[in-house]
């Protein structure tokens, strides 16, 4: 399944989420390729149930952890951890309820824009918020992405030079 397929399944399952990370960057014009899907989700109980059921259906399990350890993909796990980095039948997916520098789902939603592909409509974090998130995360790989994002924002404001 492609990244769009994963996004489409989440939309079909009526999960409320905003796409962040590399896919959002790409939607805003970044030339980077991404292999994983990053989303920020609404923590309302009904949404947690839908997200947990969808991820469990994809046999999502933890990335970077030896297979011997158990993993329970359910509402409680989503409720008690801010970030899950997962491998699934359909690809890698990181899910979180908070985006550093932006806030929880409500803040993320207000700083998102609609996009779509192949008939699937969904929301991605907007460019200024992506820059805030990358700055706040502060890891070298995030900082390394900032120049391109800043350039994209400048181009959008001023138009191509």
């Amino acid at each position: 399944m492609t990244l769009l397929g994963m996004v489409g399944r989440l939309v079909e399952a009526e999960v409320r989420f905003v796409v962040i990370g590399g896919l959002a960057m790409r939607a805003h014009g970044s030339a980077r390729l991404t292999e994983d899907l990053d989303i920020c989700y609404d923590t309302a109980p009904d949404n947690l149930r839908r997200l947990a059921d969808t991820l469990a259906g994809w046999h999502a399990h933890l990335r970077g952890v030896e297979p011997g350890l158990p993993f329970v993909m359910d509402v409680r796990t989503l409720r008690t951890t801010p970030v899950l980095t997962l491998v699934s039948d359909h690809g890698d997916i990181d899910v979180m309820d908070l985006v550093a520098g932006v806030g929880g789902y409500a803040e993320v939603l207000t700083q998102s824009v609609e996009t779509g592909s192949g008939g699937v409509r969904f929301r991605v974090l907007d460019l200024p918020a992506l820059i805030k998130a990358k700055r706040a995360a502060g890891r070298l790989k995030d900082r390394e992405q900032l120049p391109e994002l800043e350039a994209l924002l400048a181009r959008r404001k001023r138009g191509p030079e």
């Binding site: 492609t2 390729l33 970077g64 993993f71 491998v87 690809g91 192949g118 502060g138």
Partner: protein, 162 residues
């Protein structure tokens, strides 16, 4: 494993970990096995106030029961208190934190980056090596097919109104 990664895996703050090491007389050597045992002792302490010095030695025998047994009981000698730990849930929670410590955790690095090479440089740079590892599990054909699919999708992405 750094102190920060250890604390993330143990589900505690760095300060709590340092205090626990001091209370237990442990040398500051951070391993995943130790993080699991300390996390277990922390759960016991939070659930029923069992002192770390008592809970920590109980961890190996309790954790060794999984997967043969799904839970572990701690009973006070006088029978007044009985605590049941859901081992599967405890280990699942620990696995979540361990995954985070490996994939998400980053602390401020010091020193010159370019003296590092290979994996050490990638780690210093903050590269999520678990993504690389997952990619390497696929055949070249699978990787190219996935890339092709992803590129096709990404090319079709457009923000509404732009």
């Amino acid at each position: 494993m750094t102190l920060g990664q250890f604390a993330t895996a143990a589900g505690a703050s760095k300060r709590w970990v340092q205090n626990a090491f001091q209370a237990l007389g442990l040398p500051p050597v951070y391993s995943e096995d130790l993080a699991r045992r300390l996390a277990f002792a922390r759960v016991l302490k939070e659930a029923c106030g069992t002192p770390l010095r008592r809970g920590f030695p109980l961890a190996p025998q309790a954790l060794a029961r999984w997967p043969a047994e799904r839970s572990w009981d701690l009973r006070e000698a006088d029978g007044s208190v009985r605590v049941t730990i859901d081992l599967e849930r405890f280990l699942s929670d620990y696995a979540v934190r361990l995954s985070l410590s490996r994939t998400w955790y980053a602390e401020k690095r010091r020193g010159r980056p370019w003296k590092r090479r290979g994996v050490a440089l990638a780690k210093w740079w903050g590269v999520d090596l678990t993504l690389v590892d997952e990619s390497l599990k696929r055949t070249a054909d699978e990787r190219l097919k996935r890339l092709d699919e992803n590129v096709e999708f990404l090319r079709s992405l457009r923000i509404v109104g732009q």
